[in-house]
Structure formats: C-alpha cells, structure tokens
Subunit: 213 residues, 2 copies
C-alpha cells in the first residue's frame, strides 16, 4: 500500500523527508536563488511553518539536501571498484567498470546536481568540497589502490597510481560528462555511445598503463 515511503516513521520524520524530496526537485530545476521556500512547502504539501521547524533557513535546507543527495548517489559507485583487484581479465573488467561508472555518473539527477554544485561553488565552496570528496575523489582513491594491487600482480604498469586513476576516470567520462554539463539536456545519452567511450577510454589507458610488452 504505502509507496517506497517507510510507514513506521514518526509523522515529523515523514514531513521532513517530504520537504527534502520537494527541495531536491525544486533546487535541481531552478537553482538556489531561483527557488522559493513557498514553492518547496507547496510541493511537499506542508506548511511553511513546518519547513522552518525542520530547517533553520534556506541555506541550511540547501546544504542538507546537497550533502544527502551526494551521499546517496556516491554510495553504489564505490562498491564496484573493490572487485577489480582480483580480476583475471584486466581489459574486460576495466571496460565493465568504466561502463558502469559512466552509467552512474550520467544519470540525469546526478548531472543536475553536479551543475547545481558547480554553479554555486563560488558561493558555497564547502558543497563543492563535499561533492568532490565523497564522489569522484573517493572513487579515484579506491581505484588507485586497486591499480597498485594490479601493478604488483604485473597486470598494469603504473608509477603514480593516483594519477593513473585520474587519467582512467577522465579518459572514460570527460567527453560525455562535459558535453552534458554545457548542454541543458539531461536525458541519458545513447547507451551505444557510452559503450564506445568506455571502450576507447580503456584502450588508451591500457596503451599507457598496460602490462609491459
């Protein structure tokens, strides 16, 4: 009967969640300055009083929403990386990993969030930091340790593993991600295209960091 919404949740907690969900939608659509608290309250089907009961002010609600959303989005990405270091087929598994990460990063919601955070980075620098640290930086750190292990097994030739991880990451993601940042269009791009970017990125990566000839 009840949607994804957990039923055994105090009324207050339910309201709080409704507010955060509404805030997400409106902030992502209209930006920080373009969003009004009235609109959020209306969309959450909640009185403004209640909004201010849960969140001190607009800024607090905004930062709460951003950090929360970053965490939700970042979580599933890291798990994938772990399994990489025990791979038997480096190329195939790298390609798989690349493709999956691309799929994650290019989800419409995450694209919108990235745009929002970048746009406000000058005014909310701490949000940019949160986004970077809990998102890409954490993933790349995990990747760097995996690369280190693969290097020890003789399957990769990496000097600076951090740099290699960054190169891998951006070889795969840069093209579609940067295009998406500048075009307002958030629809998921053609999967075949993403396949291609993943494969070509991995190819270039392995040419530079592959096992010694």
């Amino acid at each position: 009967m009840s949607a994804p919404t957990a039923v055994d949740e105090t009324r207050a907690a339910r309201k709080r969640r409704a507010i955060l969900e509404a805030a997400a939608e409106v902030f992502l659509r209209n930006g920080y300055a373009g969003t009004s608290m009235d609109e959020i309250a209306a969309l959450a089907a909640v009185s403004k009083q209640t909004v201010y009961k849960h969140f001190a002010d607009k800024k607090t609600l905004f930062t709460e929403f951003v950090t929360r959303t970053v965490d939700e989005a970042a979580e599933p990405v890291h798990a994938e990386v772990e399994s990489l270091q025990d791979t038997g087929d480096v190329e195939a598994d790298l390609r798989d990993l690349a493709r999956r990460q691309l799929g994650m990063v290019m989800r419409p919601r995450l694209l919108q969030l990235r745009r929002l955070v970048i746009g406000e980075a000058g005014r909310f620098p701490e949000l940019g930091q949160v986004f970077a640290e809990r998102g890409p930086l954490r993933t790349m750190a995990a990747m760097a340790t995996a690369f280190e292990r693969l290097g020890a097994r003789g399957l990769l030739t990496v000097g600076d593993t951090e740099l290699a991880a960054a190169h891998f990451n951006w070889l795969v993601m840069s093209i579609p991600l940067n295009r998406a940042m500048l075009s307002g269009d958030d629809d998921a791009p053609d999967p075949a295209e993403l396949d291609r970017y993943a494969a070509e990125g991995v190819r270039v990566f392995l040419a530079a960091y592959g096992p010694p000839a």
Copy 2:
C-alpha cells in the same frame, strides 16, 4: 593619460562598454539570479535608465555578456593549434601546446565563466551551446585536422581524429579543470603542477596515438 579605454569612442559606446564590464564582474560574482540591475548600474557609474537604453532587459544583457566574453576568451586559443601540423618534434610541441592551453583555460575569469554557464545551462541552454561551440569544440576540431596531417606524415597513429583530439584535450585538462570547477577557488594553480599535468597527459596520449613502433 587615458586608460585602456579607447578615447575616440562615442559617449554611448563608452557607456555601453562600462555596463558590459560591470555586468561581467557582478554576474561572475553573484550568478544570474543573484545579480540586480541596480548593482550593475551602480558599478558602471551609470543610471538604470541608460542600462535599459542599451539592453532590453536582464536576460538580453546576460546573454550579450556571455557570448562576448566567450569570444574574447576563445580567440587566442585557436591560433596556437595551426602551427602544430608542421612540427618537427611532436612530443615537445604537443607538450608546449598542452601547457599553453592549460594556462588559458585555467585563467580565473574563464573558470568563473564556465561555472556560470554550467550553472545556468538548464535555464539558458543556448549559452551552453555557444560556450561549447566557440570554445572547446572549435579548438578540438582544429586539433583534429592537425592530427590528421600528422597522421599522414607518419608521426601519429590516429584512427578517429576527433576522438583523439578529445582524448588529448581531456587528458591534459580534466584534472585541474574539474578540481577548479568544484572548489570555489579561482586562483591560478601552481604552474609546476600544470607543467606536470601537461607532460603526463601528453605521455599517455602518445602511448596510445604515437607513431607506430
């Protein structure tokens, strides 16, 4: 005596320029929604009436400012690329090119502009398109033709020249650029660091696209 301001300029043209310069500063600092026309007028030392004489409304002023700034910033980047195709030392010249482009893209003003355009891409998609087309896309297209020539000369091994240009571009720029996008900090990064990103990017690029062994 007279500052960079050209003296032989009609009064109207002078005012117009003052308005655009003020708009640049305020928009870049406070974003579109966070900027008021009063503030621009005040900073330009001009009455609001005059602002509206020159620009129909806020949106018009904004788009005019963005397209103008994009053009100014993009121009010097393209010239560099041309000379590449006649190079004698591919690696050295690629590294040089990479380093110079990095220096261009990482200028504070251009970083702020990029953030602004990305942040508003959902609401002003045409601006994102302008930015992309007159900026990175044009540079990459020029690079692709240079690569084609270098391929013909046997100095590179490129199949898809467009893809190779994109890979080159992002191998060099992604790391510092994406960091800058998310940290609010626009100060030019350590030059030695940029040297390193240029060199390492070129190294990886040549491993994949270098002359046949």
